[in-house]
């Protein structure tokens, strides 16, 4: 590991000032991904600015009835919060489905959004990777890719984003707030992750040196009837091979509003807007759910080893929406 300077930031402007003009510096949140990548030599910062003592550790109800989640709120605190569990239960479930109790106590909301892919080629510095070393190639396309992307990928990179939390945030139209030395800004989660194209090393729309300060969830009645479901290769403590967050509002026997987002299928949490469009106004039943899933997955491109994700995601969508619809009936 490269030697580095360590500094604890105590206020937001001080934190962004410490990083300004030093592209090799990094903010340190929980460190569960960054420290691991530093050990692997993938990240080689010359300076860490610890942001965990910044006053960004609160979850507050906004004036319009949404929730504002501070960037240094830990995953544990987020999942345990009564208002999250009551009004956005799929978000609490998504967070609880990720990592372990120890890691959730460390990991922060801001860091979760900025975590890197777990693609084995990305984390092995002896191998090419367009995300880690632009232009070096993507061995995953012809190599080991059973858990790689089926949506939105390119020939240059087929890695998936590993976040569970982000999937629920995508379904609920989250907005990311950030601070820079030039002032603050906001970006919708839908625009937060950049298209892969031929620049997989450019991952987010954040300006250089920006510090995520909060994630805001707008009020959404539909979100109170929501659920997250994750498929993985063991029962607990593993990354998804496919996951979905869904919220369903049924009125007069028809779908009035539906939210659907997928995890572990793309370089970002994948909002399934085409599926939502197909389903809205239809009766909430299996055939319509399957049709909606198929409409979303029509754009999928599978590789040799990951074609199983198509039926997996289709079945997952049908099962998840069926559960939500049955709860509506009761």
């Amino acid at each position: 590991m490269r030697e580095f300077v360590y500094q604890r930031a105590t206020d937001i402007s001080g934190a962004v000032a410490l990083l300004d003009g030093d592209p090799q510096a990094r903010f340190l949140g929980g460190g569960t991904n960054l420290v691991d990548l530093m050990k692997a030599g993938v990240e080689r910062p010359d300076r860490l600015v610890d942001v965990r003592e910044l006053p960004l550790g609160r979850i507050e109800t906004t004036q319009d009835g949404g929730l504002r989640i501070g960037a240094t709120v830990t995953n544990s605190e987020l999942a345990a919060h009564p208002e999250v569990r009551r009004r956005y239960p799929a978000l609490a479930q998504a967070v609880l489905a990720g990592a372990s109790g120890q890691l959730r106590n460390m990991a922060t909301v801001g860091g979760n959004l900025l975590q890197r892919t777990r693609c084995a080629y990305f984390t092995d510095t002896s191998l090419p990777c367009n995300k880690r070393s632009p232009g070096s190639g993507c061995p995953a396309v012809t190599g080991e890719h059973h858990n790689h992307a089926i949506l939105g990928a390119s020939e240059h990179c087929v890695a998936v984003h590993p976040s569970d939390m982000g999937v629920a945030l995508a379904a609920f139209d989250a907005v990311v707030s950030y601070e820079t030395t030039e002032g603050g800004g906001e970006v919708a989660l839908a625009d937060f992750y950049l298209p892969v194209g031929d620049t997989p090393h450019l991952e987010t729309a954040l300006p250089p040196g920006a510090l995520i300060t909060a994630v805001t969830l707008p009020p959404a009645q539909v979100a109170s009837h929501s659920r997250y479901r994750k498929v993985r290769e063991r029962a607990s403590y593993a990354f998804a091979i496919g996951s979905a967050a869904a919220a369903l509002d049924v009125a007069d026997g028809m779908v009035r509003e539906v939210r659907l987002a997928f995890g572990a299928v793309a370089s970002r949490p994948w909002r399934a807007r085409e599926a939502e469009r197909v389903l809205t106004g239809r009766p909430p039943e299996g055939a319509a759910f399957a049709e909606a899933a198929d409409a979303e997955l029509a754009a999928a491109r599978v590789l040799d080893q990951n074609a199983y994700k198509l039926p997996l995601m289709r079945n997952l969508v049908v099962a998840l929406l069926t559960e939500l619809a049955e709860e509506t009936d009761r």
Partner: protein, 200 residues
């Protein structure tokens, strides 16, 4: 006094099991390495060194973490508890006693991490935290009973390559029963969790 070049090492004070230790650490030093190599607290074990096995689990300000992914310099000012600080002198903590009584281990390598993790599981459950095994996470559903399924999920960050899981789950369940019957003894059981257990 300030160094001419930015420092890549710092003199820090670590508070571990109630004792203060002053030492100079290279910033690259993990909390795990500082505990084991500098303070001779070899209870926390280095298994994977990647945050995946839980053998290095310790408590920081009462919360369980994996010490292999925490920097020693970042824990200055926080209270660290390792397995060495769990017992009350020669009197084992009820969680330790339960692991002994129910054979919650074989080789013992993962056990310090398992026990530190179990301590936190009991606190987290008493605080009403849901888990991925909780059928309904809404607060109105009330705190989930600490079933074997809940224990397995909550302890899933601690791997045991001997496969002593069956006994580990039983040990955590017994420690939870003990805590419910002895509020304030060995752990800070809340009134809420005590009431729930006795009503169950």
């Amino acid at each position: 006094m300030a160094p001419a070049t930015p420092a890549t090492a710092s003199a820090i004070t670590l508070t571990v099991n109630g004792e203060k230790h002053t030492l100079t650490v290279d910033h690259r030093t993990t909390l795990l390495d500082a505990l084991r190599e500098r303070l001779d607290l070899t209870g926390p074990k280095k298994g994977c060194d990647q945050g995946q096995c839980g053998a290095c689990t310790v408590l920081v300000d009462g919360r369980r973490i994996v010490s292999c992914l925490e920097l020693a310099v970042a824990t200055e000012g926080r209270a660290v508890t390792t397995i060495e600080g769990v017992a009350d002198g020669d009197a084992l903590h009820p969680v330790q006693q339960a692991f002994l009584d129910l054979d919650g281990f074989q080789c013992g390598y993962c056990t310090p991490g398992q026990i530190c993790s179990a301590l936190a599981v009991l606190d987290e459950h008493a605080a009403g935290w849901p888990s991925a095994a909780t059928p309904d996470v809404r607060p109105e559903a009330g705190p989930p009973p600490l079933t074997p399924e809940e224990i397995r999920e909550r302890m899933s960050g601690n791997l045991c390559r001997c496969g002593a899981y069956v006994s580990i789950v039983q040990a955590v369940a017994r420690a939870a029963e003990h805590r419910a019957g002895h509020p304030g003894h060995g752990a800070e059981a809340t009134t809420e969790s005590t009431t729930k257990e006795s009503a169950a």
